[in-house]
Structure formats: structure tokens, C-alpha cells
């Protein structure tokens, strides 16, 4: 069984959730159609709490589509029909009684291309807490902003220019701002859709460090087409191929001894 060249694979520490802990999010039998075309076929997955789960696979295999099911962002797309069961802490998130706005506060998202609001840095981070009523006065709001920026590793760099527009930062800083914005509403799960693909290697390294720090407090699901990144940051990995989830398991197992030959082919770089 072929493995990665030496020195590339560095296994990350074991999941903090502990064996036997209930998964934070579960998906069963997810089938998704964009109009006539089916994009996801019978996806079953358990996302463990307080750990990083990576979704890998070649382009167009449905990773981004699936991750958008987890916070119902696919609702905003016309013609997108999903069947199946997605649960957060055991509750069905597609149930009619669920408030989508509340759901998205608990399950935050960071997008591929950094998209800060065209407002000040402060306003970017403060917007979420404000609309969810998480702060009762200005002092509390300031506190939340400071904490979020600090957790995102951005505070030192922007401390004295919080009123400047968020769009004036560099790419890596903008993405960290988006992460701070996601953290500010105190989510339980953070979904990241290829967060580093638009960034340079140094900024990428910062973000990966950040992800490692964050997993102590948040459950993270990250979509990436960069295998090495998945190997570096995640504890669990799922391999997607043409809308099917081919394999799911501990990251170390997936990369050292994949069960399915499609997984092996992708990991060894035969295609993808």
C-alpha cells in the first residue's frame, strides 16, 4: 500500500472529544439535487465535537455542497432540493420549527474568498453580536470584539485602527477578520469552505495555527483540496468522490492505510 513521501505527513494530536462522546453533528442519507442533476448520493457522516474534521476530494465532488447543508446555506439557492437528516446535538436542523437565523448563529461559516463587510473592522466583528443581542451595552460589545479579534490572532495588528475599513487589510488579515466575525457570535460549530485557497503560504500557516488553537473550543469542519493541509490540521477526514462519500475515519488511518482504492489513488496523487 503506497504511502506519502517521508516528511510530508505529520499526524496531528488525537481528537479532544474522547472516544464514545456524542458527535456534534450527524448527517444521514443526504441526497441533494440541483434541478435535474444529483450532486450528493447517500452521505452518512458523524462530526465529532471539539475536533477538526476535514473533507477532501477532487474538484466538483460535492464537498462544498455538503458543508453548506450543515448550516442550511443551500436554502438560498433556487432549485436546490435536499432529502435526508441533518442533526445538531441530536436536533433535526431542517425541522420546520427551527429558526434558521438561530441555527446560523450556532453554526458559523468562513468562505473561500475573504468577504469582510465594507465597514470598519470594529463593525465587521460587532455586527453579529449586535443583531443577535449578545451584548447589552457598548462596553460588553467592545469586550466581545476584542476577544474575538484576539482569538483570531488579529488583535495585535489592528488594535489601533479598529475604525478603518475592513477591506483595507491584506488577504490573510481579511480572512482572519472573517474568522473573528464568525467567532464573535459564539458559535458551537465553525464551517470553513477552503479558507486558505486564496491566500499565500505564510497567511495559510497562520490560519492553520489558528485552527489548531480554535479546536479546543469549537467543532470545526474544513473543506480543503490541499491534502497536506488536511493531514496537518484535522483529526478526522472524509474523502468525497463524485458526490459519494467514499471513506471516513481517523486522519492518520486515511493517509497511511486507506481502505478504498479510490482514496488511495487520490492520496498518492494518481488523480485529483
Amino acid at each position: 500500500m503506497a504511502t506519502l513521501p517521508d516528511g510530508v505527513f505529520t499526524p496531528s494530536p488525537a481528537a479532544g472529544g474522547g472516544a464514545g462522546a456524542a458527535p456534534k453533528m450527524t448527517a444521514r442519507g443526504i441526497n441533494l439535487h440541483y434541478g435535474e442533476k444529483q450532486a450528493l448520493f447517500d452521505i452518512d457522516i458523524d462530526v465529532p465535537a471539539r475536533a477538526v474534521t476535514a473533507l477532501i476530494g477532487p474538484s466538483g465532488c460535492g464537498k462544498s455542497t455538503f458543508i453548506r447543508c450543515l448550516n442550511r446555506m443551500n436554502d438560498t439557492i433556487d432549485g436546490c432540493v435536499m432529502t435526508g437528516d441533518v442533526r445538531l446535538d441530536g436536533q433535526d436542523i431542517y425541522d420546520r420549527s427551527v429558526d434558521v437565523v438561530q441555527l446560523r448563529q450556532r453554526v458559523g461559516m468562513v468562505f473561500q474568498k475573504p468577504n469582510p463587510f465594507p465597514k470598519s473592522i470594529y463593525e465587521n466583528v460587532a455586527y453579529g453580536p449586535r443583531i443577535h443581542g449578545l451584548a447589552s451595552d457598548r462596553a460588553e460589545l467592545d469586550e466581545i470584539v476584542q476577544t474575538s479579534l484576539e482569538r483570531a490572532g488579529l488583535l495585535k495588528e489592528v488594535q489601533d485602527r479598529l475604525q478603518e475599513p475592513g477591506t483595507g487589510l491584506s488577504g490573510g488579515q481579511q480572512q482572519r477578520l472573517c474568522i473573528a466575525r464568525a467567532i464573535a457570535v459564539s458559535p458551537e460549530v465553525i464551517l470553513m469552505d477552503e479558507p486558505c485557497s486564496a491566500l499565500d503560504p505564510i497567511a495559510t500557516a497562520h490560519i492553520e495555527e489558528l485552527i489548531d488553537e480554535l479546536r479546543g473550543n469549537y467543532t470545526i469542519v474544513i473543506v480543503t483540496h490541499n491534502m497536506q493541509q488536511a493531514a496537518r490540521v484535522s483529526q478526522k477526514t472524509a474523502f468525497f468522490h463524485l458526490g459519494h462519500m467514499v471513506e471516513f475515519g481517523d486522519t492518520e488511518d486515511i493517509f497511511t492505510s486507506p481502505q478504498d482504492e479510490r482514496t488511495q489513488g487520490y492520496i498518492t496523487g494518481r488523480y485529483g
Binding site: 446555506m73 438560498t76 437565523v101 446560523r104 468562505f111 463587510f117 465594507p118 455586527y127
Partner: protein
């Protein structure tokens, strides 16, 4: 273009040098055409402005006759009564005419005196009346005041001889007054402070300006919120099906409907069916609002479309409801475009005449309108009415009113550009 055809296509071409030369020549010609088009447009604009200024400039000055008038106590405050009503009702015209007669003691006969008095405006004594009511202490004093001359005198003084309403003797008297320095020109204040009048020297655009202002107020108050809300709904919330397609086609068509049709609609529905007051800015405003609505909707939709989807996604991801996404993020970013569209629509509505003619805003209105239901007229209609009048003095006033209207339009468009620049944000 014909040059491409002439070279015969690839493979059969001449040598590269010739091809290059022809291509550069074609580009130079193309640029020249562009420049010529701009030049023609600018020339047309300058011709319009130039002719308006040339004709209307003289309207800013008005001829006045300086007279020494005694405020005779008997005439103004008979039997010692000097309350406001008595003062207002007194015959000041007689006083002013008396002063004029005093300058020409040889003129005795009544017919002759009437001819002499015709040199003055019918409203010549208005200024004196206002002053005396304001300050009754003037009673009994002799004042040197400037009274308005009639429009025929005014035109002759401005050099448009052949304003043939004056006979030989009146001409003679006028020459004598000129020679003795009683004739002078002043700023034409009545043009800006008076409403319309049969007498050109007393006619002003204030009534029309108030009418335009009130009408535009109603127009904007109705069309802006409705237009923006419609655009937001169609763009952000409406499902994409046959019905919304139908609505969109209809809105685009409405923008192209001739404006007089809206006037007919106003006449049939608002005046005849609902019984709203004729000639009122309220009805004019509603009609113009219907006309401006499609323009605003189309501009607002384009502005909303231009907001990147990533902003909406980001806001949704943080947990904003669709309404919050629109009001907190999309609308502020689309605002410059919406504002520009609104101002352009409003500028067009300001210059509209045909629909307002249909609802009766073509009447001769003297009083300056105070409210939305007072009969009124608007500036373009006023220009039309004056251009139709026989008196020569109205020619220059028509041009002057046109200049005022053009000034407003220029200011509004300028405002649109400035506001758009101010609110523009970079992503």
C-alpha cells in the same frame, strides 16, 4: 467595416506594412467620428443655451420711472382714519398718476391724460401702498420713489422699437422723461416674487416655482419609497416564475409609455372618478409619480444587482435574517445607484408638461399656491403659456423662465453626480 472587406481577408492580404497603415488610419478615423459627435452635441447645447441667454438676459432688468409723490393725507387716510384696511383700500394709483401729471402740466384733456398714464404699469402704485401700510408715518410726506413703467415702455427702452402700442405723443413724452433723467432700469424683482399676470411687467415665476416645488414633493414622496420597495422585493424576495417575469416586462414597458397617457389616466381616474381637485399639485404629483416609478425601479434593480453576492452570503452566514441582509448591507451599498436613478427621474419629471396639461395645470393662475390642493401651475407649463402670449415683453420672460428651469435641471444632475461620488465605496 468596409476596410476589412477591401483587404480581402486572411491569406490574400497585402504586406504587413500596408495593413498596419490602413488599420491605424481606420482607428484615427474612428476617433475623429467620436470627436465630431461630441462636438455636434456640445454645439447644439451651446446654441440652445446661447440663444436662451441672449433672449432672456434682458428680462432681468425692468424699466422704472422716478417720481416725486406726495402721500396726501386726504386720499390715503380720509377723516383721520389710518387703520390698516383704510390704508390698503386707498387710491394710491391716483397719487402716482398725479405726480406724473405734475411733470407735464401742459397735458390737460382727459383723453390725453389717460394716454400719459398708460406709460405707467397698472401695478405701479403697489410699492407705494406697501410702504405706507408698513410705515403710516409717511402720510403727508413727499417721497421720491421709482414706479414700474408699462411693458411697452420697457420694451422701447430696451431698444426693441416697433413695440407699436405707443402713439407719437406718448413717444414724445417718453423721450422727455428720458432726457430729464426720470427713466432708469432696476433689477426685475417682480419676476421672482410675483405670480403670473396679464401684464408682462408684473408677471413672475414664483407661482410656477411653488407649483413645481409642491408637485415634485408629492412625486418624490410617492415614487421613491414605492420604487425602492418594489425593486427590493423583486430582486431579493420574489420567486423567479412566470408572474414575476410578466411584472418585469410590464415595468420596462411602462418606462417607455408616452407621458401624455399618464395625463389621460390622471384625468380619467383621479379627477373624474376620485374627484380630486383640478389643477392641484397633489394630482400633478401623483401623475408624475406614476411616470417616474418605472425609472426608479429599473435603476434600483440595477443597483441592487451590482452588490456582490459574497456580501449577502457573509451576512447570512453570520445569522442575519433576509430582511436584515437587505437593510443593513445591500441597500446601503446600492444607495448611490438608487439615488442617481431617483434624481435623474425627478429631473425628467420636473420638465414634463404634457401630462400636466391634461389634468388642468394649464390654467391662468395668479395666486401663489400655498398647499397641495390649491390650483397651481408648473414651470414648464408657465413657459408654454407665456410663449403663447401676444405681448412682446413675454418673449424675454419666456427665455428667462427657460433659463431658470435649465438651471434647476443642471443643479439636480450635478447633485446626482456629487452624491454618487460621495457615497461610493470600494469593496
Amino acid at each position: 467595416m468596409s476596410d476589412v472587406a477591401a483587404t480581402g481577408g486572411p491569406g490574400r492580404a497585402r504586406d504587413p506594412a500596408t495593413r498596419n497603415r490602413r488599420r491605424y488610419a481606420a482607428e484615427r478615423r474612428f476617433r475623429l467620428y467620436g470627436l465630431l459627435s461630441v462636438a455636434v452635441a456640445v454645439a447644439a447645447l451651446l446654441a440652445l443655451l446661447g440663444s436662451m441667454v441672449a433672449r432672456g438676459w434682458s428680462a432681468l432688468h425692468q424699466t422704472y420711472v422716478t417720481l416725486e409723490v406726495t402721500v396726501d393725507a386726504e386720499t390715503v387716510a380720509p377723516a383721520g382714519r389710518s387703520d390698516a384696511k383704510t390704508l390698503a383700500d386707498a387710491d394710491y394709483t391716483a397719487l402716482v398718476r398725479g405726480a406724473l401729471y405734475g411733470l407735464f402740466p401742459e397735458v390737460r384733456a382727459r383723453g390725453d391724460r389717460r394716454a400719459l398714464a398708460a406709460l405707467l404699469s397698472q401695478g405701479a402704485a403697489d410699492g407705494l401702498r406697501a410702504r405706507v401700510i408698513d410705515n403710516p408715518a409717511l402720510i403727508g410726506r413727499t417721497l421720491k420713489i421709482a414706479v414700474l413703467a408699462s411693458d411697452e415702455v420697457d420694451q422701447i427702452v430696451k431698444g426693441r422699437a416697433g413695440a407699436g402700442k405707443l402713439n407719437e405723443r406718448q413717444h414724445g413724452w417718453l423721450e422727455k422723461l428720458k432726457a430729464s433723467g426720470h427713466i432708469g432700469k432696476r433689477l426685475n424683482v417682480p419676476f421672482f416674487t410675483h405670480g403670473d399676470s396679464r401684464e408682462p411687467e408684473l408677471a413672475g415665476i414664483r407661482g410656477a416655482m411653488m407649483g413645481s416645488f409642491l408637485t415634485m414633493l408629492v412625486t418624490l414622496a410617492l415614487s421613491f419609497p414605492l420604487g425602492v420597495a418594489t425593486a427590493v422585493y423583486l430582486e431579493e424576495f420574489a420567486p423567479k416564475n412566470r408572474w414575476t417575469d410578466l411584472i418585469e416586462v410590464n415595468i420596462n414597458n411602462l418606462a417607455a409609455v408616452p407621458s401624455i397617457i399618464f395625463g389621460l389616466l390622471g384625468l380619467a381616474v383621479f379627477l373624474n372618478f376620485f374627484g380630486l381637485p383640478r389643477s392641484a399639485p397633489l394630482v400633478g404629483g401623483i401623475v408624475l409619480a406614476l411616470m417616474t416609478l418605472p425609472t426608479i425601479i429599473i435603476a434600483a434593480r440595477a443597483a441592487l444587482l451590482a452588490v456582490p453576492g459574497s456580501i449577502r452570503q457573509a451576512a447570512l452566514g453570520v445569522g442575519a435574517s433576509p430582511m436584515q441582509v437587505v437593510t443593513h448591507h445591500v441597500l446601503p451599498l446600492a444607495f448611490p445607484g438608487i439615488l442617481t436613478g431617483t434624481i435623474i427621474g425627478a429631473a425628467r419629471a420636473l420638465g414634463e408638461t404634457a401630462p400636466l396639461l391634461m389634468i388642468g395645470m394649464v390654467a391662468f393662475i395668479v395666486d401663489v399656491p400655498q398647499g397641495l390642493t390649491d390650483p397651481a401651475t408648473v414651470l414648464p407649463v408657465q413657459i408654454y403659456l407665456w410663449s403663447d402670449s401676444p405681448e412682446r415683453a413675454f418673449v424675454e420672460r419666456t427665455a428667462a423662465a427657460t433659463l431658470v428651469l435649465l438651471a434647476f435641471l443642471i443643479v439636480m444632475n450635478f447633485l446626482a453626480v456629487i452624491l454618487r461620488k460621495k457615497f461610493e465605496r470600494r469593496w
